[in-house]
Symmetry: C2
DNA sequence: CGAGTCGTTGAACGGAATCAATCGTCGTGG
DNA sequence: CCACGACGATTGATTCCGTTCAACGACTCG
């Protein structure tokens, strides 16, 4: 477990890769600097997400990681992981399964991001990110967080939610969202 | 090795997964159909790219695959892959490496999709999806394809490209796009 | 109690989608 | 060979919707 202040660099592109991380708290920005000196954001890791997972297979990091906020991360040293890969095929398969799962998650998010309509995105989110019991979502964080996840402004989210509530598509309590029917 | 005509469906979402594919020739579009009957492109597999990689760990496909052009694909039956995983740890590791690479690609696309501005998306695409030689892009398909990849309407893409050309940000030839400086 | 922040609503703005028309090219069939 | 149709590329006009700026009430926390 490591803690870093906002703005700190975890690792830089083209430096030897030391291991793999997961975010515990805060956000980490993965970026690449082009030869022309311009930075391109590859990905912003949210809590729970692993990052630099693929660096385990590379000698150097292919991008840089910068703490956006104060962050806590778990660090898994490369040597230990590689040793585990050598000795434990089951672990290797589990790692591959994890990568496959992350890939599916990323593609689901990608699908949602490609919707250019707030209501559709919210519905998509509720249908997929909620328990199979009902289409309900206990939201631990603020609605603002949800808005960021959906890549909407809070205002757009609020408006669309009230609109959907009026239309009877969802129900709202103080702590949860519930998708109705279908 | 299998060959399919343009428009043919390789597999549909929620049908039992039979195996994994790679594109040899042509392009395959991975998509999901939303409730409204609208299709969302998850990504377009170019020659050399694998797809349905994660379905190996799943009972059913989570998206549909449609041939954009006439295509040739390699098919790897699920049973054989799973047997190989059991017997050959090196192969398992190589598979994990491939998944990690695909994950990186997906996250890059996700980052791009979250940009709500056509010019930014195009620039991001050109900065990352082009060879390191120059920021140029040979485009095998039509601009329409690029528009779909960027989740823009063809019109928006055309307009923004001419706008960027006028501003001197890019150069266009009949077969390529070239990002200029910085 | 005051400061800060979330949630909410209003108004104006901007940019992409949509609808529509034209031009050019390519392939197909008469 | 040429007419025709199909489709990509392009441009124009309009609409729609999310963003932005702004204001206010509710709540928590020091």
């Amino acid at each position: 477990m490591r803690k870093l202040a906002a703005g700190a660099t975890l690792f830089s592109a083209d430096t030897p890769s030391a291991g793999v991380y997961t975010v515990v708290k805060g956000r980490v920005r993965l970026e690449r600097i082009t030869e022309r000196g311009k930075e391109a954001v590859l990905f912003v890791a949210q809590p729970g997400a692993p990052f630099a997972e693929a660096s385990i297979f590379s000698d150097v990091y292919h991008c840089s990681a910068v703490a956006v906020t104060n962050v806590s991360v778990n660090f898994y040293p490369k040597q230990k992981l590689l040793a585990e890969f050598r000795d434990n095929p089951v672990f290797t398969l589990a790692y591959a399964r994890m990568l496959g799962h992350q890939l599916m998650l990323a593609r689901t998010r990608l699908e949602r991001a490609n919707m250019n309509n707030a209501g559709e995105r919210i519905r998509h989110f509720l249908m997929l990110e909620t328990g199979p019991d009902g289409y309900s979502l206990e939201r631990p964080g603020a609605l603002k967080e949800l808005a960021a996840e959906l890549s909407l402004t809070p205002e757009a989210l609020y408006r669309t939610l009230t609109q959907m509530t009026k239309a009877g598509e969802i129900e709202r309590t103080t702590s949860a969202l519930h998708l109705i029917g279908r």
